[in-house]
């Protein structure tokens, strides 16, 4: 993967078609990485929910 990235980056330096393929793949990867925002936000909300449960059970 790392070597693949290096080759792609090298190819784009020469501005050819392989560079375009590499760049398009990078954009797609960035787009996919954004999907991780959903589980990350759910995890953060889960922490809040945990605290609310503790409050309800032990402090009210």
């Amino acid at each position: 993967m790392g070597q693949d990235r290096k080759n792609g980056a090298g190819a784009l330096m020469s501005h050819d078609n392989m560079g375009r393929v590499f760049l398009q793949r990078e954009i797609t990867q960035n787009r996919r990485r954004e999907l991780l925002l959903i589980p990350k936000a759910l995890l953060a909300l889960g922490v809040v929910a945990g605290l609310v449960v503790i409050r309800q059970v032990f402090f009210l």
Partner: protein
């Protein structure tokens, strides 16, 4: 003559009416304190929507000819490394030109830049202003005028002399310019100094919250508050649309450029995966100087664009209600904090049961928002979140966390803990504690100011970090905002105080 209305007036319970009215006003004061908290919650709840509502669908492989303009005044320590890193960008060499605008530097900046120009002929250009000291915007405009003299430049990257671009950052930014509706793109400025201290770790966490997190939300909601001054990429068309130059009338030239771009109907995009490292202050006094400049700039922007707030437009999102609330939640945060304290203490003095109810409600919302934002933010930039874990947890300050615990877990600190320790709590002690927690949100700003004052004393090395951990980093920024109100009100001289950079970034 009918005198019945006089009887009605005489029988009317004016005291109850007065107390009721006063209670309503005080409740409104407390509610103003809740607005910034709710705005933050709303903004951070919008972040996961960036998973589906982002600009990647319209981005495409695009490598325009980029002119990089670097304003430099006495940047001898950092400019060489910055140029080397720019030349190391994974970007076609023939599509990249670096214009260093030397603002009549008195150190070795000219020699360093000339050496680089000789090393990279045609790629590095040294421009020198005969008369310097007019500020960053004037320096940038000198370079932009030169760059616009021919048609070579297709996109303009404005950066600071000390920032270090990660190799893939520029091409990740240019991909968005493939969409002609996009006028400008900005990157994630990450605190990147190798010798971090407590303050740079706080700043690192602040940048995660305000950039990687909040700017994603702004992408979703359709209006961006600011293109980072150290990383703003404009299409040539956009640069010409906004007048072919940078605004020189304020201290917030980057925010004004951002607003002008969007008011012209062009879109502005934040690219979270384009990372740029910057060196940030290690001392509160340096941070204060930098942030005072930013805060005064924001006062000027708020006034300059007074006709756009809360006036929705089909052309841009700056007039949207949500954007206005975000903007004013930061701009008026100190006012909201003070009003909230006044409201709570006023209700307490009126012996209203509502004081405890609204205090608890406000701080429970604050606690939930704090936990959610920090838990999400540390995941958005793992390395920074890991390095700044202590600062992430203590971002609101130890005392504010105690106040949140008081509100969130009723009885724990004011009853259970003293009971466990065998310490009796008198009614007077209880009242003093209540007044303290009601006033704390405002008192914290005084604590932040104190942290700045003691920094230059011989105890500063120990006391200042201790105070910042106690009062929190947020109140430091709020105290700076108060200072900016005062300076603008007094029409204090608005000069460009450059933040000193020493090449600590890597």
């Amino acid at each position: 003559m009918d005198t019945r209305w006089l009887d009605v007036l005489a029988e009317f319970d004016w005291a109850a009416f007065g107390i009721g009215s006063l209670t309503a006003i005080l409740l409104a004061f407390v509610a103003t304190g809740a607005v910034p908290i709710l705005a933050t919650a709303y903004q951070f709840l919008a972040i996961p929507f960036h998973a589906v509502k982002n600009h990647y669908g319209k981005a495409a492989p695009y490598l325009p000819r980029v002119a990089v303009v670097v304003p430099a005044w006495n940047e001898g320590l950092v400019i060489g490394a910055s140029i080397e890193r720019l030349m190391g960008l994974e970007y076609p060499r023939e599509c990249l030109r670096i214009y260093v605008v030397d603002d009549a530097s008195t150190d070795d900046t000219p020699q360093v830049v000339r050496e680089k120009a000789e090393l990279y002929p045609g790629s590095v250009v040294h421009l020198r202003r005969a008369k310097g000291g007019e500020g960053k915007a004037h320096t940038l405009n000198h370079g932009i005028r030169e760059i616009l003299k021919d048609d070579w430049m297709q996109a303009l990257l404005i950066m600071d002399a000390d920032v270090i671009y990660m190799p893939s950052s520029l091409r990740r930014m240019t991909a968005h310019l493939a969409d002609k509706k996009v006028g400008a793109v900005t990157a994630y400025i990450r605190e990147g100094s190798h010798d971090k201290n407590y303050l740079t770790r706080f700043i690192g966490m602040e940048y995660v919250l305000s950039q990687v997190a909040a700017r994603r939300a702004q992408n979703v909601l359709g209006a961006l508050a600011c293109l980072a001054g150290g990383a703003q990429l404009h299409s040539r068309e956009n640069l010409i649309t906004i007048g072919g130059q940078i605004d020189t009338s304020s201290l917030a030239e980057d925010t004004i450029t951002t607003f002008k771009t969007q008011l012209a109907g062009n879109r502005v995009v934040f690219e979270p995966h384009a990372v740029v490292h910057a060196e940030e202050p290690q001392l509160i006094n340096s941070l204060w100087k930098q942030r005072l400049r930013w805060a005064r700039g924001n006062v000027q922007v708020t006034s300059k664009y007074r006709r756009i707030w809360f006036r929705p437009s089909r052309k841009h999102g700056l007039g949207d209600f949500s954007f206005g609330i975000f903007w004013f939640s930061i701009f008026l945060l100190p006012v909201a904090m003070v009003l909230s304290s006044v409201g709570l203490i006023g209700l307490l003095l009126l012996q209203s049961d509502l004081a405890a109810v609204v205090f608890r409600a406000t701080w429970i919302i604050a606690a939930c928002t704090y936990v959610y934002t920090i838990a999400l933010a540390v995941q958005l930039d793992g390395p920074t979140g890991w390095r700044s874990a202590r600062e992430a947890v203590l971002f609101p300050g130890v005392v504010s966390i105690i106040v949140m615990v008081t509100a969130f877990f009723p009885g724990l600190l004011e009853r259970d803990l003293p009971h466990l320790l065998g310490v009796p709590v008198s009614d007077t002690g209880d009242l003093i504690w209540t007044i303290f927690v009601y006033a704390w949100i405002s008192v914290a700003m005084l604590g932040a100011w104190l942290a700045k004052v003691v920094e230059s004393t011989r105890f500063g090395r120990v006391l200042t970090p201790l105070l910042v951990y106690l009062v929190g980093y947020g109140p430091v920024l709020c105290a700076v905002t108060v200072d900016s109100y005062i300076k603008e009100f007094r029409h204090a001289e608005a000069k460009w105080d450059k933040t000193e950079k020493t090449g600590r970034v890597h």
